[in-house]
Symmetry: C2
Subunit: 310 residues, 2 copies
């Protein structure tokens, strides 16, 4: 036996791990049971809301696409579930960005909980870190690189010395940027996430309209080169800062010193940095920007929702 190897097979000892296994193995079975017990699945014309109404379940996992116009169809799904007293785990930002206050009040009234990790940068743990790891501190400010596409475009402009248009086209060819990239490059995706993060952390009820938003569409190669000459980096930063008891929300390209912990976050990576009173600055980075990463964030919320802190 090597000195640096333990002599037992690795065994899980936390109830959380056991729960994970049950959830992983059980999900398929539960789904099968739900479909068998509820004859209506797959019936033409059956809506999601009707299914939620009729199925007996404790939790709704919402994963329809984000819609910032009216929040549908997620809005109806989530309101229906919360009206019934179901907990919600959501990867969909829309309903929470648009109806944060209303959903919060309804959930409190019906004694159910809303879990939105997957909606706020997916596998990058933004809200969990604030809620658990910073418990007892006062958060003074939050800065985040919350959108992988824009960070990829800015990183590529810097590394290859190419224009915004060329970098964006490259990102589209790799499938990192969407055909219509406006939601990302105009800063709206970052702003949506900042709404959710700042509402949770600072107990606010802000909406997109409360954020001053500037995207990356006007960042020129000259801006990037000048920053590099000055030993700085340009990043699209979503920020919330506590100033005289009020929270200022911003999304804009910012010049960061190269020592700033977000300065070295490159490519499609995301990160968030919290400044606190008693713990100083704590920064988290990484987390797969992929459907698997988002699904893992949903599973995480589902597990944490049903586990006492240990």
């Amino acid at each position: 036996m090597q000195k640096n190897t333990t002599n037992t097979q690795v065994m899980s000892m936390t109830s959380r791990d056991v729960l994970t296994d049950i959830l992983r193995q059980g999900a398929q079975e539960m789904l099968t049971m739900a479909v068998e017990n509820f004859g209506g699945f797959g019936r033409p014309g059956l809506t999601g809301a009707e299914a939620i109404q009729r199925v007996s379940a404790d939790v709704l996992v919402e994963a329809t696409p984000t819609n910032l116009t009216d929040g549908e169809p997620g809005k109806t799904h989530i309101f229906t579930a919360v009206e019934k007293g179901m907990d919600v785990v959501s990867a969909n930002k829309g309903p929470f960005v648009l109806f944060y206050k209303e959903l919060g009040e309804l959930a409190r009234k019906n004694n159910c909980r809303l879990h939105i990790s997957a909606a706020t940068a997916a596998a990058l743990p933004t809200l969990d870190v604030a809620r658990v790891c910073l418990a007892g501190t006062r958060v003074l400010s939050v800065e985040g690189i919350l959108n992988g596409t824009t960070n990829y475009v800015l990183s590529r402009m810097k590394e290859e010395g190419c224009s915004y248009d060329v970098a964006l086209k490259g990102a589209q060819q790799l499938g990192i940027a969407e055909t219509d990239p406006s939601f990302d490059v105009e800063g709206k995706d970052t702003a949506s996430k900042m709404v959710l993060i700042s509402n949770r952390i600072f107990g606010m009820s802000s909406g997109i309209k409360d954020i001053k938003i500037e995207g990356i569409t006007k960042v020129s190669l000259e801006d990037i080169s000048r920053a590099t000459r000055d030993e700085k980096v340009i990043k699209l930063i979503g920020s919330a800062e506590l100033i005289n008891g009020k929270v200022e929300l911003n999304v804009a390209p910012k010049l960061l010193d190269k020592e700033h912990p977000l300065a070295s976050v490159n490519g499609p990576e995301k990160a968030i940095s919290y400044m606190t009173d008693t713990m100083g600055r704590i920064t988290v980075m990484g987390g797969k920007s992929s459907p698997v990463g988002a699904a893992a964030a949903l599973l995480k919320d589902l597990i944490n929702a049903h586990t006492k802190s240990s």
Copy 2:
């Protein structure tokens, strides 16, 4: 009203924040009450263990210095508390590094919980991130810069081109390194933290003897310069890696590519990086390395111990 400012004073809405306030305000009051109700405090000859025996309390907060020889006096304090069924929040690594298995079994038997965030890199959230933010993933490997002193010395050698001895003396003059720095520079502090982190994450019962430990005392300026020329960085890394179902534990100076998320962690900063199956890599860095940072980590554990996940 400015567009980017919310129009309400910031109000806390989470039960966790309310609890924080109660704890902050209540700690002084509780301490006064405990002293008043228990006439023995301050009596010459009264031991910590006797006080723990006689006072009626739910939680022991242990903050005596780490002792890796026999774990005292913390060992007696913690065993006494757990025998009584008290939860323990500890900043003291010693008893957990030496008696991890015994304390774990006793705590399970007496239905109490052991919270050791403050003992495992204090304000840098190592265990919380693994437990909450990575719930549902399989951790494949852990790499950490877990000791501020050694990271400061290596950073200074690189930045100033000075020898190990000169950098260490500078760290001692600034109060970053202790007069006897051996616990830090020989890698034992990092190894102690790796024991706790890997035991929690992988459900092991390892001790210091299971770790191959190499400190930074043999790192020469030449090594550092060669690394810089090769666009790499030397960092003292504690690591745990899952290989064929077994966990390999190591502490050693390692060459990191400059793109590695731990490569940009400089000065007395600490960081930990988790590689997972479904979320990819997630890295946390920062957290004040100070008595305030350690106290904040104790408060965090105390709050999380008494809050359901929300």
